[in-house]
C-alpha cells in the first residue's frame, strides 16, 4: 500500500455531490519548466517582464484563431449544469474545479480587457484585472483539468473546458510559464523520437527481446519489425507499449493479430510515439510538428496504411486532427481510413474470421471496460457514431467469456477520466491524480463487489499507467488493469502454436 501525504478518499457506494470547500486544492501545482525545456518549443525561458501585456496579446491572438474560445467565453449563462460533472471537483470539493469556475478564471480576464461590460462595470459582471494572483490561479487550476470533455457533454452550448484549458496553457507558455512534464516530453520527441527518450538502438533491442519472448512462449516466429521499408502498415503506438506493464502485453497482441492476419507491418524510429503532448499545451504549432513525424515516417517507409495503437488522446489527435495537421494522405491506400485504430483492424479481422480465438483462456478473469475520455468524447471508431464504445466491447467479448459493464452513468460518453489525462500524469501531481480517480474507482469497486469483476481493460497508455499507480491507494491491485490487446493476445492461437501440453513455464 502506497503511503501518501494527503487524505485518500474513502470509496462509498454512491458518489455524492459534495458541498463546496474553497481552496482545498490551491496548493496543487506541477513543476514549472526550466528554460532548457521551454526554448526548444519556441517559448520564452522564464516569465517575461511585460508578461501582462504579452498574455493579453496572446489571448487576443487566440480569440482570432479559435472560434471555440470566442464562442465559449461569450456564451456561458452560468446555468450550473456542468458544476457537478468534473471528477476533480467531485473528489476535491474545490469550487475552482467546477468546469464553469475553471473557465471563469480565464473568462474574468477576457471580460475585463475584451468586452465593453467588463471595461466599464467590472464588478457587476465579475471581470478582473490580470494580476499575479490570477496567473497563479491559472497555473494551479488549468493544471487540474485533464481535458476530458465530460463537462462539454452536459453544457447546453457544448462549452468544452478542455478548449479553455488548452488556451490558458498556451497563453502561459507564451509568457514563459510552462509545465515541466509536458514541455520536457515534447522536447524528447523532437530530439529522440518518443516521449520516453528511447533511442532507436534501444528500441530495436527491445523489439528483438519481444520476438524472443513470444517465440519462447508460443514457438511461433512473430515479428516486431522496425523501419521496414515497403511494409503495408505503419504502426504508431505510445512508447509505453515498448516496455511498461500492462502496455507491452498489448503490443504483443497487435503483433500476433498482424501475424495471424498475414499483413506486413512495421514500427518506425522516426515516429516511435503515438502520443502528442502538443495538444495538452494547446499549441497548434507543436502539435503539428509532432504529427508531421508520422507523415514523414509513412513517406520514408512507403507504407500503404497507418494504424494507431491503444492510446486515448493520441487517438484523438490521430482520428480528429491528423488529416488537418499532417494531411492530405493521398499517397496512402484510399480503401482504408487514415489513420485506423488497432481495434478497428482487429475487429475487422474477427469479422472476417481470420483469427483463431480461444476465449476460455481468459476464463480466469471477469472483465469490465474503462472508456477512455478522449476516445469516448472526441473520436469515433468504425463507420457509425458510438463505434468507439461498441468496437472495443465487441473485441473484448470475442476473446473473453466474462464481461460486465460498470454503471451506465460512468461509461460511454459519460465515462469518468482516469484522473491522469491531459498532461497531468506526473508524480508532482500525485495528490490530484489519486483524488481525481475517485469516481472511476467507485464504479470499479461496485462491479468488483457486486458482479465479481477481477480486471478492468483499458485502451489508453495514460489510463493504464495512471491506474497501475493509483489502484493500490484504493486497496486494489495494480495487476487488475489489462490492455485490450493483452486479452486478444491471450486468446489468439497462431498457426503452429505449441499447445497447452508442451508449454514450459
Amino acid at each position: 500500500m502506497a503511503k501518501a501525504k494527503f487524505e485518500i478518499p474513502e470509496l462509498q457506494e454512491y458518489l455524492d455531490i459534495p458541498e463546496i470547500e474553497p481552496g482545498t486544492m490551491a496548493h496543487s501545482k506541477p513543476y514549472v519548466a526550466k528554460p532548457v525545456f521551454q526554448i526548444p518549443l519556441g517559448f520564452p525561458g522564464e516569465l517575461v517582464d511585460n508578461w501582462q501585456e504579452k498574455a493579453l496579446d496572446k489571448m487576443g491572438d487566440l480569440l482570432g484563431k479559435y472560434r471555440s474560445l470566442r464562442v465559449f467565453l461569450d456564451s456561458c449563462v452560468k446555468c450550473g449544469a456542468c458544476t457537478d460533472k468534473c471528477h476533480y471537483f467531485l473528489s476535491t470539493k474545490d469550487p475552482k474545479n467546477m468546469p464553469v469556475a475553471r473557465q471563469d478564471l480565464l473568462r474574468k480576464v477576457y471580460r475585463r480587457y475584451f468586452t465593453l461590460a467588463g471595461k466599464f462595470f467590472p464588478k457587476l459582471v465579475g471581470a478582473e484585472d490580470l494580476t499575479k494572483e490570477v496567473l497563479d490561479d491559472w497555473y494551479s487550476y488549468f493544471h487540474q483539468c485533464s481535458q476530458c470533455r465530460r463537462c462539454s457533454v452536459f453544457c447546453p452550448y457544448g462549452i468544452d473546458t478542455a478548449e479553455i484549458s488548452m488556451a490558458a496553457r498556451e497563453i502561459m507558455d507564451s509568457i514563459g510559464v510552462g509545465q515541466k512534464y509536458c514541455n520536457e516530453i515534447i522536447g524528447k520527441v523532437y530530439t529522440i523520437g518518443n516521449n520516453l527518450g528511447l533511442p532507436g538502438r534501444a528500441l530495436a533491442d527491445t523489439l528483438e527481446g519481444l520476438e524472443e519472448d513470444v517465440y519462447d512462449e508460443t514457438g511461433v516466429d512473430v515479428k516486431f519489425p522496425l523501419d521496414q521499408k515497403g511494409a503495408d502498415i505503419l504502426v504508431v503506438t505510445p512508447s509505453a507499449d515498448f516496455f511498461a506493464e500492462p502496455h507491452v502485453d498489448g503490443l504483443i497482441g497487435y503483433a500476433k493479430v498482424f501475424h495471424a492476419a498475414g499483413v506486413s507491418w512495421t514500427l518506425s524510429t522516426t515516429a516511435s510515439e503515438a502520443a502528442n503532448f502538443g495538444m495538452f499545451i494547446g499549441s497548434y504549432e507543436n502539435m503539428r510538428k509532432v504529427s508531421l513525424r508520422v507523415r514523414q515516417a509513412a513517406l520514408e517507409l512507403g507504407v500503404k496504411r497507418i494504424v494507431f495503437g491503444e492510446c486515448g488522446h493520441a487517438w484523438r489527435v490521430a482520428y480528429a486532427f491528423l488529416n488537418t495537421l499532417a494531411g492530405p494522405f493521398d499517397f496512402l491506400d484510399p480503401n482504408y481510413p487514415v489513420p485506423q485504430h488497432i481495434l478497428e483492424f482487429t475487429y475487422n479481422e474477427i469479422q472476417k474470421g481470420t483469427l483463431n480465438l480461444d476465449k476460455s483462456v481468459n476464463d480466469d478473469m471477469v472483465l469490465t471496460f474503462h472508456d477512455s475520455c478522449n476516445i469516448a468524447r472526441a473520436t469515433r471508431m468504425g463507420d457509425k457514431p458510438g463505434g468507439q464504445f461498441e468496437i472495443p466491447r465487441a473485441v473484448i467479448k470475442a476473446v473473453c467469456n466474462n464481461f460486465v459493464d460498470m454503471e451506465p452513468e460512468t461509461i460511454h460518453d459519460l465515462t469518468y477520466c482516469c484522473g491522469g489525462g491531459g498532461g497531468l500524469l506526473t508524480d508532482d501531481l500525485m495528490e490530484l491524480r489519486v483524488k481525481g480517480a475517485q469516481p472511476r474507482m467507485t464504479a470499479l469497486r461496485n462491479v468488483i463487489e457486486e458482479q465479481g469483476v477481477t480486471h478492468m481493460a483499458a485502451i489508453c497508455a495514460i489510463c493504464k499507467s495512471q491506474f497501475t499507480k493509483v489502484l493500490p491507494y484504493y486497496g486494489m491491485d495494480m495487476d487488475q488493469i489489462v490492455s485490450v490487446h493483452q486479452l486478444v493476445s491471450n486468446a489468439i492461437i497462431l498457426t503452429g502454436q505449441r499447445t497447452e501440453g508442451d508449454e514450459t513455464e
Binding site: K78, Y284, A378, R380
Partner: protein, 243 residues
C-alpha cells in the same frame, strides 16, 4: 407631442440600433473566427442533416441540459418556451394586419407570461439554494433574472390589473416604423415595461444573452464528425504549410 412620446421614440430607435448593430457585429465575429480543428463532442452526427437535427434538439429541447440537470432544464425550458410564446404574441404590436396563427394563439398565450415568470423564479431560486450555482453567480447573473421578471410582472399587471390602451400602444410602435409618430399612453406600468425592455435590448449584445446566437456557432455541436473523410483546415493553419 408629449415629452414621454418623444423620449420613448428616441429610446426605441436607439435601442433597436444598438441591438441590431451589436448582434450583427458579434455574429460577424463568431462567423469570421475559424475553427482550426474538428472538435465535435462525440458521438456526433456524420452527416450535415444529422448536425441540423442535433442543433434542432439542442435549441428546441435543450437536450444536453436535460442530461445535465433536470431541475435547471425544467425551469429553463418553461421560461424559454413561455418567452417564445410571449414574444410571438407581441408581434401584434408591430404587424398590421396580424398574421392568422398569431391571432389564433392570443387567448391562451397569456398563460405563457405566467410560465415565463415562474420559470425565471425557479432559476433565480437555484442561484440562492444550490451552493455551487451561488458560487458561480456574478451580480449581473442576478440582475438579468430580475430584469426579465420585472418585464414579465409589469406586462402581466397591464394584462390583468392596470390595463393600458393597447390600441394606442400599437399605433405608437407602428408609427415608429413608418416615421409618423403617434402618442404613447402615459401609464405607469407601460412606461416601466418599455423602459426595461429597451434596457434588455441594449445589453443583449454585450451580455451572456449572446448564448442565443452562440449556440449555433458552437463547434462541439455544429461540426460534422468526418475528419478522416474530409480534410478540414483553417486559412491561418494553411499558411503554416506554405512556410
Amino acid at each position: 407631442m408629449s415629452f414621454l412620446t418623444i423620449a420613448f421614440a428616441l429610446l426605441f430607435y436607439a435601442a433597436t440600433a444598438i441591438l441590431l448593430a451589436g448582434l450583427a457585429y458579434k455574429i460577424f465575429r463568431f462567423a469570421k473566427t475559424p475553427s482550426p480543428l474538428k472538435i465535435a463532442t462525440t458521438p456526433a452526427p456524420v452527416t450535415e442533416t444529422g448536425v441540423v437535427l442535433r442543433m434542432f434538439r439542442e435549441v428546441v429541447f435543450f437536450e444536453s441540459l436535460f442530461r445535465g440537470s433536470k431541475w435547471t432544464w425544467t425551469f429553463g425550458w418553461v421560461f424559454h418556451m413561455g418567452l417564445l410564446v410571449v414574444l410571438i404574441r407581441h408581434l401584434r404590436y408591430v404587424t398590421d394586419p396580424v398574421w392568422g396563427p398569431i391571432a389564433l394563439i392570443q387567448p391562451f398565450g397569456v398563460y405563457a407570461g405566467f410560465a415565463m415568470v415562474a420559470g425565471l423564479g425557479g432559476l433565480w431560486a437555484r442561484r440562492f439554494l444550490v451552493d455551487r450555482v451561488r458560487y458561480i453567480s456574478a451580480p449581473s447573473d442576478h440582475l438579468i433574472l430580475i430584469l426579465l421578471i420585472l418585464i414579465g410582472v409589469s406586462g402581466l399587471t397591464m394584462k390583468f390589473i392596470a390595463h393600458t390602451d393597447v390600441v394606442a400602444v400599437k399605433q405608437f410602435f407602428m408609427g415608429l416604423m413608418t416615421f409618423s409618430w403617434s402618442p404613447l399612453p402615459a401609464d405607469f406600468f407601460l412606461v416601466i415595461h418599455l423602459l426595461l425592455v429597451a434596457f434588455l435590448m441594449i445589453i443583449f449584445p454585450y451580455s451572456k444573452l449572446l448564448h442565443a446566437p452562440g449556440v449555433f456557432f458552437s463547434p462541439t455541436r455544429n461540426q460534422v464528425d468526418n475528419p478522416r473523410e474530409k480534410r478540414h483546415i483553417a486559412a491561418w493553419a494553411r499558411k503554416l504549410e506554405e512556410q
